[in-house]
Amino acid sequence: MELKTQPFMLNIGPQHPSTHGVFRMRVTLDGEVIVDLEPMFGYLHRGIEKLAEGRTYTQNIPFTDRFDYAASVMNNFAYVLAVEKLAGIKVPERAEYLRVIMAEMMRIARHLLAVGFFTNDLGAMMTPLLYMWREREKLVDLFEMVCGQRLTHNYMRIGGVSHDIPPEFLPALKKFVKEMPDFVNEYDQLLAENEILLARTKGVGILPADMAINCSVSGPMLRASGVKWDIRKADPYSMYDRFNFDIPTGTAGDTYDRYRVRIEEIRQSLRILSQAIEQLPQGEVCAQVPNLLRPPKGEAYARIETSTGELGFYLVSDGSIAPYRWRVRSPELLNLTVLRDISRGWKIADLIVIFGSIDIALGEVDR
């Protein structure tokens, strides 16, 4: 005897404790099972791409901070690489190393945030989040030491970085790199073999590898599905071809694998950091670039591997001081397109977990 039921629509609205920002989902539910999902974003759209057309290349750098606001330095990095490619500017070596150090520190901080909020979505009452936040605070203090702000760094400039590191930066960073593996092991002890975590995340929200490639998913989501693709190895930019590191991949593509890939990436970033600190040369930190830069006419596309995926900047210049067109290939928006397909058939509680494992920051999704 079949039970007659009727699907109903629930609006997981823009104001919600666990959508990471203002994101709206219209979910069609059958009891507790998700039948259909319609994501609606755009609540944080600020028109940055249009605003950028009226400002010079250097003035646009603070705007790029505000994309993935939890990982500002990486956005700066991608933009600055694009401009340098367009204008043909060579960056001094010390500046390149500093950029890599900052980017890897930011990657660790971003992954800590991602995993912390992922466990918060699972329901752990903020406890693992605050433990990871403690490490992130240490990193953010170091950022404050170098560039003056904790969150919107505005550190990279066209041709290098804005400031050199003060003398007390390296000892503090070395201490951090030495202590961090113990903390990562602590997180593993708390979470990795936790029975309830395994029950809630293993097999949930599986993203098959072919679907991931077809939908332009990138970053830890792609690697968790088993595709070994990391731009730092596949298309190296800056100094990444000089470092030894591995690319962690998962096999199943479920939420648990995404979480594991992120934790492993923290470990690999620590490796890169310790190598970069050793190899840091002396020298200038910024090339001589005219104040109002006029790149030659043309277009350039530069991409980097941020902690959420492939961030790309496509710049078109018409020879004036402001860019003609600025287009951002936002990894989080593209990662979000698979949300509907991987969450069908799961329950509301799983939807929140899957959404947390995709790890978005609304600034990037909406620009």
Binding site: R55, T58, Q59, N60, I61, P62, F63, D65, T127, Y131, R134, E137, K138, D141, L142, E144, M145, V146, C147, G148, Q149, T152, N154, S162, H163, D164, P166, E168, P171, A172, K175, F176, E179, E186, Q189, L190, N291
Partner: protein
């Protein structure tokens, strides 16, 4: 679960604000500005380099080829504290402040005029001015377990 029990007996890492404070970084891009009227020539390079255009400068002629700055106002309410103005100034006349408690009750009070910019309460940070580094105190770093100002020692 044993892990959380272990954490129960560790020290807290939060600071009891406002009784205890942390020492900010030397290069903090704080929420005020410090303006040196003796060095400023009124060239308005800072105003041109601001992404939002929040700096308003009016000048008048003061002899041959010189300008006297009549009024200089920063709209702190719309500023994003990126520091591009400080980097752009060719005469080293502009510094970022170190304060982070500039909240006011109305937007009108958030316009920093000449008086506020030159007031002695404003401390200048060394963002863009590395020569100021030695004069400023060291930052509290959580990496060393420092959670209040008095825990910073000079030779770390």
């Amino acid at each position: 679960m044993a892990l959380t029990l272990k954490h129960l007996f560790r020290k807290t890492i939060t600071t009891q604000y406002p009784e205890k404070r942390l020492e900010t970084s030397r290069r903090i891009r704080g929420q005020q500005f410090v303006w040196r009227s003796d060095l400023c020539t009124g060239c308005a390079t800072c105003a041109k380099s601001c992404p939002h255009g929040i700096i308003r400068i009016t000048t008048s002629k003061n002899g041959e080829n010189k300008y006297k700055v009549d009024s200089i106002v920063f709209d702190i309410g719309r500023c994003m504290f990126c520091g591009l103005c400080v980097e752009a100034c060719p005469y080293n006349a502009l510094y970022m402040g170190r304060s982070y408690e500039q909240a006011r009750y109305s937007r009108k009070l958030l316009w920093a005029d000449m008086e506020q910019l030159m007031s002695p309460d404003n401390e200048a940070s060394s963002y863009g001015h590395p020569e100021m580094d030695e004069k400023l105190p060291l930052q509290t770093l959580l990496v060393y377990g420092q959670i209040s100002k008095d825990m910073v020692d000079k030779d770390d």
